[in-house]
């Protein structure tokens, strides 16, 4: 233990903080986009039109059956071409952050949609009947009656999924995007103190995720 040398950490904090901001950005975008797209997927899945529900089922199965690392690489390779085609951007533009955000959002939405589908189904069908009986349309019924109740039941699960996502963002190392983990790795590599930096990064991830899941647990107790 006495061999550990933590001295390179204080000086590296600003750089590590930039990495943490990247991590938080990706997490925030993927949570929001994942929930929005996941909600749509869940509604498609529950649709009575076979084509729509087939699409949602296939989407979810596809993304749940491939490794996240691979999805990230796909989008890293794909997004530049898409941007080039759509906006005429040069292929050398740095798209690592954008492609990571897109990849995570699409991947997480598959998981979110399953949580949300269960949430929608947890609301009793009598509530749908009551909303229809008042003359509400399908959209009004969903927006005003079903989804608010579904989301209330789902909040703990959605937050827990967000915590998992926060950890998974470290996988962006495969596209050489310096998130918090990547930044710690870079500093450790530079100073020959990889073990210390990775221990430190692990401790930070643990502290954040553990306290967040404590908050979720407390919140869960309060609403039940």
């Amino acid at each position: 233990m006495s061999d550990f040398d933590w001295s390179s950490i204080p000086g590296a904090l600003p750089y590590l903080w930039i990495g943490m901001k990247t991590t938080l950005q990706i997490t925030a975008v993927a949570v929001v986009a994942g929930i929005v797209w996941g909600t749509l997927l869940a509604m498609l899945r529950l649709s009575t039109l076979p084509a729509l529900s087939w699409f949602a089922v296939s989407y979810v199965n596809l993304f749940r059956s491939v490794p996240l690392v691979m999805v990230l690489l796909w989008f890293f390779l794909l997004v530049p071409q898409l941007l080039q085609a759509a906006f005429g951007l040069s292929a050398t533009t740095d798209v690592r952050l954008v492609s990571a955000m897109v990849g995570f959002s699409l991947f997480e939405s598959a998981y979110y949609s399953e949580i949300i589908r269960a949430g929608i189904q947890s609301v009793s069908s009598g509530q749908v009947a009551a909303a229809y009986a008042l003359g509400m349309t399908y959209r009004q019924t969903m927006r005003l009656v079903i989804l608010p109740q579904a989301f209330r039941n789902m909040v703990p699960l959605l937050l827990t999924q967000g915590i998992i996502l926060f950890q998974d963002t470290s996988l962006v190392y495969v596209i050489a995007l310096p998130d918090f983990f990547g930044a710690a790795y870079n500093v450790g590599n530079r100073d020959g103190r990889l073990t210390e930096l990775l221990l430190f990064a692990g401790a930070v991830y643990f502290a954040i995720c553990y306290s967040a899941s404590m908050l979720v647990r407390r919140f869960q107790k309060r609403i039940s």
């Binding site: 009793s124 009598g126 509530q127 009947a129 009551a130 909303a131 229809y132 009986a133 008042l134 003359g135 509400m136 349309t137 009004q140 005003l144 009656v145 608010p148 109740q149 209330r152």
Partner: protein, 242 residues
Amino acid sequence: MISIKHVSKFYGSFQVLSDCSTEVRKGEVIVVCGPSGSGKSTLIKCVNGLEPFQQGEIVVDSVSVGDPETNLNKLRARLGMVFQNFELFPHMRVMENLVIAQIKVLGRSRDDAVHKGMALLDRVGLRAQAEKFPGQLSGGQQQRVAIARALAMDPICMLFDEPTSALDPEMINEVLDVMVELAQEGMTMMVVTHEMGFARNVADRVIFMDLGRIVEDDKKEEFFDTPRSERAQQFLAKILSH
């Protein structure tokens, strides 16, 4: 106002309604009774299109319910419905339950909707509960709110699907009182219920169903005094024996 002609409904090969025909005129109070599984709740849910049916025709205020061209949302907004399990929206306060459809479906201003909601809460004796959530009310109170919620839409007719079946005995009367008052004011009502006291008091006609068929459709005096079918006689004997 409501005409039901030769309506049949199937779940797969299982027939839940067979050739049901009846008529509800403006201002009439019809009680629908029968053993469980007889199709009475299904029939009433066909009237506002909550349950589809495969054969026959239901016409409400000259709108055909089964016609694919019919705007069911529009029709339902004009028919009040009260459910066995109240089905208030648990995430909204009582007042919000009363105003939400007035605003979103009828396009009323919030002020008008609240005004109307308050008047109706007053009428069902629950003005003080306006800011509570449904979960904080007793079953009887929730059902009275549900009736007020339906009335807030100024319905041309009220449909009741076993409104007192999920209530503790001591709460049944507070709900029936509201319904009796409504009937006496001339509201057209179709009520699925086992409350024979209510039927005797305010019904104009009683429909008795068994195995998906309308077995009796009589003036209430005839139904209670001289039921024609054996099935209705047995049912009445059982239900009125205590």
